[in-house]
């Protein structure tokens, strides 16, 4: 279990592991690794709880029904897997404001949580808009040699690099 106690693996080993994992998901589940649709299903599940079957008045939730599926369980698994891995290496720790945010921008919790929420909102909106996220397009779609996925991945990083540079060079100075 020595390797589970390591803080970090070579990015090539961890990445190759994700590649091999994708073989298994294709073989045993006929599915590609992806996560973002699960957040949309969760939103639908919450709306269903509050408004009942009227959630199906929305075209999107007729197309993407709000229920627990393979990918939803995959996302729950990521939480558990990362928890196990971080516990084993002693990295699990409650942190509200991460580095380098706290040094560059400030240690206030409220500001960090508001910006994280706005970021999460754009991420959820953008993932549905583009039809996938860093795993669905960025890893799974690109390995299937999908043109849309390579273009999506390029624009994820183009947008990300532009806004991160503005944030850290502009706002934080």
């Amino acid at each position: 279990m020595y390797w589970m106690m390591m803080e970090q693996w070579s990015p090539y080993i961890a990445g190759a592991g994700i590649g091999v994992l994708s073989w298994l998901t294709f073989l045993l589940s006929d599915k590609a690794l992806g996560t973002s649709t699960s957040y949309a299903r969760t939103a639908g599940m919450i709306e269903r709880l509050l408004r009942g079957s009227r959630v199906f008045d929305r075209e999107y939730f007729r197309k993407t029904p709000p229920h627990i599926d393979w990918q939803w369980m995959l996302v729950i698994g990521i939480v558990i897997g990362a928890f196990i891995s971080a516990m084993a290496s002693g990295q699990a720790k409650i942190v509200w404001v991460p580095e380098p945010w706290s040094t560059a921008i400030g240690s206030g919790v409220t500001v960090r949580i508001i910006v994280a929420f706005v970021g999460g909102t754009l991420l959820g909106l953008g993932a549905r808009w583009a039809g996938g996220c860093t795993s669905g397009h960025g890893i799974s779609g690109t390995m299937q040699l999908s043109v849309a996925s390579w273009i999506a991945a390029i624009f994820f990083f183009a947008g990300g690099i532009a806004v991160a540079t503005l944030l850290y060079m502009g706002v934080a100075g």
Partner: protein, 186 residues
């Protein structure tokens, strides 16, 4: 193969498999370091190329295996459709969120698992809310999402090469990129 088909269509077993695959994915992401805010921001500020190294390694290993399985008839490779309105505009919105949050939809779950409260309270709630906003806008967005649809869906069609030439080409280019990063000390 009949047993494999039965497994693929057994909803309860698939949920269990999803959970098991998720745990493995979570371990790989955490051990790769990409569930940490500083590693993702390091990539977006072009100071630390861990994210790209992890993604590109996963892509080339996955690409070879998945296409081998497709050739043997064990797996279905599917390409996604895309358009300027959907892929490019959506990609840029996603990128802005990626930089503000400092995690993506997969790594935010891993970050929450290791105790990052900004990921759990800000990120996950925001992702659910943003997806719901998309569901609200969807009827009005539908035609824009089709604008500028890509006519070529596979990389092979763009390159005018067979799958069996495209795979080694992508492999060589990605390995060259990774060697280049190491050579530059990034």
């Amino acid at each position: 193969m009949a047993r494999l088909e039965a497994l693929r269509h057994n909803e309860n077993r698939q949920k269990v498999l999803g959970l098991v695959f998720g745990i493995m994915f979570g371990i790989f992401l955490q051990k790769a370091g990409v569930t940490r805010y500083e590693v993702i921001m390091g990539q977006l500020l072009l100071l630390d190329f861990t994210v790209l190294k992890v993604m590109m390694s996963a892509v080339i290993v996955g690409m070879v295996g998945v296409h081998f399985m497709q050739w043997r008839g064990w797996a279905n490779v599917n390409v996604r459709s895309g358009s300027l309105g959907s892929t490019v505009v959506g990609g840029l919105i996603f990128g802005a969120g990626f930089a503000l949050l400092g995690y993506c939809p997969g790594t935010v779950a891993g970050a929450a698992g290791q105790g990052a409260m900004d990921a759990l309270v800000g990120g996950v709630l925001g992702l659910v809310f943003g997806s719901w906003v998309f569901a609200l806008l969807y009827p009005r967005l539908a035609s824009f999402l089709e604008w500028g649809s890509f006519t070529k869906l596979k990389l092979q069609e763009v390159l005018h090469l067979s799958t069996w030439k495209t795979i080694p080409l992508v492999l060589i280019l990605v390995i060259a990129l990774l060697l280049g990063l190491e050579w530059l000390g990034l």
